[in-house]
């Protein structure tokens, strides 16, 4: 039996998810939470195998909750289940350690059940796939060479922060470097990844994450 915790501030969504998931005999709903803090408390007490986590919620968002849960129990699988289709936010969630994402309206109930089982088996989930969601044309990425090998450690840090939606000034402050240096790093990242915009760079990252069927939660750091 796979034990699952559903975290969503929308009652109707939680109920719908529960109905579908409970229809599968191999799944057991261990509990429901309506915000990040409740999710952390619930996971501490019921220790689920998998958490279906919404991103935007009152009090504490799903990304912060994901970090907190994985800090305590790194073996927990967390799937982001959301209506948000912003690549930066999704990249941020993956950075926080999520095993993948599912976007409402892009999966069937059967696919949901399958995704849950696949994630528990240790594979990455991207529903819909990055290219389907954002268009294959945006941001080139060579399928043969691992993107990460092309970037320096500093560039990875910069890209990491771009993925969290930081502006150049903030990146400079966090990494304690000049804003001009940040710009240079960004230009270098763009040319190495063959992209023109921040969004395309983040998409490149997301693509590489899901390419091998395994979410690389710590991928950006190396």
């Amino acid at each position: 039996m796979i034990s699952i915790v559903i975290v969503d501030d929308n009652f109707v969504a939680r109920r719908g998810l529960r109905s579908v998931l409970e229809s599968d005999t191999g799944i057991f709903i261990a509990g429901e939470a309506s915000n990040g803090q409740e999710a952390i408390n619930l996971c501490n007490s019921v220790d689920p195998e998998l958490v279906l986590m919404d991103i935007r919620m009152p009090d504490m968002d799903g990304i912060s909750a994901t970090q907190a849960i994985l800090n305590k129990k790194p073996e927990t699988k967390i799937l982001m289940l959301t209506v948000i289709d912003d690549p930066c936010i999704l990249a941020n969630a993956i950075n926080a350690g999520a095993a993948g994402y599912l976007i409402y309206g892009h999966f069937s109930p059967q696919e949901l059940i399958k995704a849950v089982k696949t994630a528990v088996a240790g594979k990455a989930i991207s529903l819909p796939p990055v290219d389907d969601l954002f268009g294959a044309a945006q941001g080139a990425s060579s399928p043969d060479i691992d993107i990460w090998q092309r970037l320096t450690q500093r560039e990875k840090e910069v890209l990491n922060l771009i993925g969290t939606g930081c502006e150049n000034r903030e990146i400079a402050r966090v990494l304690n470097i000049e804003e001009k240096t940040v710009k240079n790093h960004i230009n270098s990242i763009y040319s190495k990844l063959g992209v023109n915009t921040r969004q395309e760079a983040v998409l490149c990252v997301l693509r590489s994450r899901f390419k091998n069927g395994k979410a690389r939660s710590a991928g950006m750091s190396g």
Binding site: N10, R15, G16, S19, V83, Y104
Partner: protein, 405 residues
Amino acid sequence: MSGMLKMLTKTTEQELGESKRLEKVLILQRWLYVPAVLLAGWLYSWPSLAGIIAIVVGLVIVNIAGFYANKATTGMAAQRLLGFFMLSADFCAGWALIFILEPDKNLLFYIVFSLIIAEAAIRFELRGALVMDLLFSLGMLFGIYLPLSSQPGSFPMANYLLLLGVMSFASLMVGMVAREWRKQRRYAVQLAAERTLLLERRRISSELHDSILKSLQGLSLEAYSMAQDHSEEGNGFSEKANYIQEVCQLLSRQIRSVIMELRIEDIMQEKNLSAYINDLLDAWTVRTHIEVERDIPDFFPSIDPTLTHNLHNIISEALLNIERHSGASKVWIKLAIENGEMLLELEDNGHGFYSEPENVYSYLKRGSLGLVSIKERVELAGGSFIIQNSPNGVKLYIKQPLRKM
């Protein structure tokens, strides 16, 4: 829609409020005329005590009446009428003063003239300044060179022309500044309204996205599970549940498309202007089968969302116009940034307008609102709009300054 109406009403209210405040300042300033007129009377040894008193009393009455009228007016038309009466009163008082205090004391004339011309320029901009300049120059001419004066011709013509020139120049400047100031105020109000609208759209789209869309998805999952649970009963329950699920999915798609429209500025910013315009043109070509030849750079620097929104609307409007009226089979579009301006050229190979219109507003009479709307959009954003008509098609040139918010 109610928000939009509220904003429009607010704009008119703001305009009225500004006119009232201006009137209040002019009324306050008019009180200074009372001691000034008395001082002038004393300096000129009271040539007509009764006349001076009459002017002072007249000014006081006009000012008090103006004060209450300014409070009472509720519309822009009444406010403008009040302004016109107050200016006329000042004009009459000015002339009365000049005639009473001997027409040869030219310095005084010019002081009085300057004040009243400045007032006209502030109230009615360039037009007000020009009319007052004319009235005073004619009046002076009669006053100094015709027998109305006690010593006709005592003031040299050269001085008269010089002073008149300086005064006209100064008043035209005041008029131009007043006009520019009003224009900028209107523009600022418009910009603020657009920003409010943008924020409101974001709020609505986020609400639709997070709350309604998700509830529909939850309901859809619920319906699916109901259909599964009752699939073997054969009483039609399962079909009904499936139907509900399908409707939920359809509504979700519709809501997503509404969200896309509401977030058009954000999408254009994120997506890169070129990609967005290309998508717009692609969709139009698919729908109308009219080929579009493009000269659009692959990448634009990030552009003010109001400008992108404006540009999107202009292009959509122009394409709709071509589709409806031109009979064209091909369109050429060029988009570029040069010297801090966005240039848009749009040409079609249609039949053009059947007769040469005198100005863009004559299109309005023919029922073509599109071009007028384009012209107004462009000009409101401080840009320019040129249209070339020929039997082989119409060419639009649009220039719009890039601005940062």
